[in-house]
């Protein structure tokens, strides 16, 4: 392990990507976008500079939800769509841990779709990375919540009739304080986004358009991303404006804009901070521990 000032970070990190890579070999299809996302996560964690035992990675079910197993951090490949409630519980119980949640678009916006607004409104200090491949890859390519209208899949042989969920609009509308999008076609750019999301104090959402090489269409592949992706900073975007972010987020599905859509310049307090504040406020009047049971007993 080399000790060096990491140019990706303002902090001095003694970690390299290798420190976060586990011995388990990824079994994703060769060419899958998730390989690049994993690489970006290793690099971002190295730049952050916290040891693997201080990091926990919670996922749901799906191809991308295998990611905790491929890192040396603590990991829980949990239940379909339930990465966020588990991650929130963990963060409340162990606030000192750096907690990341990850999964696919089906896991996040269909099966677990109901958990996303609550994670946003609670605003715990989590980073949620969605690998949005616009299909259910692990179960062999069914229509997912973000599949484009007209997409032919095994469950939409004549093309999907449904409008896709727009993950960026979804989280922005519920008030998320940090919203970004990246692609494994630009791994250094994605690394910077993930690092910034982790450093953001509060719920941070990163949508990664991560192509499914097996069931995706040609215009969803990395080669296409390389040709069309455009950095938000190059189009004069003001990331401190939620209105501008909502406007740019409407391009989801037609353009590939990457970077930070919205970063709240005055982030609201996190749930953890509010809980600690409440505990401190109530502490002087708290009943002695041995008398707490009395509060529940009618005399």
């Amino acid at each position: 392990m080399a000790t060096a000032t990491n140019p990706d970070s303002s902090a001095t990190s003694t970690f390299t990507s290798k420190d976060f890579k586990s011995d388990l070999k990824p079994i994703w299809c060769p060419g899958c976008g998730d390989f690049g996302v994993l690489q970006a996560i290793y690099r971002a964690l190295a730049a952050i500079g916290r040891p693997p035992h201080e990091i926990a990675f919670i996922s749901g079910i799906g191809c991308s939800s295998r990611i905790p197993g491929y890192t040396t951090a603590y990991g829980f490949n949990s239940v379909h769509g339930r990465s966020l409630p588990i991650a929130q519980g963990l963060k409340l119980a162990r606030p000192e841990l750096l907690v990341l949640a990850a999964g696919g678009d089906g896991d996040g916006f269909s099966i677990g779709g109901g958990h996303v607004p609550h994670a946003i409104r609670r605003n715990d200090d989590l980073t949620y990375i969605v690998m949005d491949n616009q299909t259910y890859g692990l179960t062999k390519g069914q229509l997912s919540p973000t599949s484009p209208k007209g997409q032919r899949t095994v469950t939409s042989a004549h093309g999907s009739l449904e409008n896709p969920v727009n993950p960026l609009m979804y989280v922005l509308a519920y008030g998320a304080s940090f919203v970004a999008q990246g692609t494994p076609a630009d791994i250094p750019g994605l690394t910077a986004i993930i690092e910034e999301a982790i450093r953001f104090p509060g719920f941070a959402f990163v949508n990664v358009q991560s192509p499914c090489v097996t069931y995706g269409e040609e215009n969803q592949q990395i080669k296409h991303h390389k040709a069309v992706m455009k950095k938000l900073e190059s189009v004069g975007h003001d990331a401190t404006s939620r209105i501008q972010a909502l406007d740019k987020a409407q391009t989801y599905g037609t353009e590939l804009l990457t970077g930070v859509f919205f970063r709240d310049p005055t982030p609201p307090p996190t749930l953890g901070a509010l809980v600690r504040q409440r505990q401190e406020a109530l502490m002087p009047n708290a009943a002695p521990r041995e008398r707490i049971l009395d509060l529940f007993v009618q005399r």
Partner: protein, 175 residues
């Protein structure tokens, strides 16, 4: 898509240039190993064998450069890190495909050698130090040799079946 971050080429010392070259070979070696693992998992044995061979070549280049570095600068600390380079000689992740032919694997390797050559060609005009320039010229010329070697192998490789990529898709496997 290769990139660098935080490298000041005009002030690059020979020690840092050697370290950079070592890191480039290390990155390529690791990526070829990853590709070989992917191919083995997805029953693409010829390509796996080729990528394993490429990983061995990159490791050989890395250890040769590392020996030169030790001889010249012993254990002096390095001031360049892996986070400063990205995919200079390592094949892009989307080059890999399940059931890719030996010829397709060779073509992926050729594109990587071309990327590395382009990196040294782009860096050279910025170099001020004579010893660093000589090293980068040497490395650039080696990339040309590697390209020729790979092109010769492509000529010898069995012809592609001329089927679209879609016909070679594999499905997710269990773990």
């Amino acid at each position: 898509m290769s990139s660098t971050k935080g490298i000041n080429f005009p002030t690059l010392s020979l020690k840092d240039a050697l370290d950079l070259a070592i890191l480039i070979e290390e990155e390529a070696c690791e990526r070829y190993q990853e590709f070989a693992d992917q191919m083995e998992i997805h029953r693409t044995h010829e390509a796996a064998q080729f990528f394993r061979l490429m990983a061995g070549n990159e490791e050989k280049h890395r250890s040769e450069l590392a020996a030169r570095r030790v001889e010249r600068f012993a254990a002096q600390p390095s001031s360049v890190t892996r986070s400063m380079i990205f995919d200079i000689e390592a094949p892009d992740y989307d080059e890999a495909r399940a059931f890719m032919t030996e010829r397709a694997a060779l073509r992926a390797a050729l594109r990587s050698e071309e990327k590395a050559y382009a990196f040294f060609v782009a860096a050279l005009p910025q170099i001020k130090d004579d010893a660093v320039r000589a090293l980068f010229e040497e490395l650039r010329d080696e990339e040309v040799e590697h390209q020729e070697l790979v092109r010769r192998e492509i000529k010898k490789a069995p012809a592609d079946p001329n089927l679209p990529d879609d016909d070679f898709g594999d499905e997710p496997v269990g773990q």
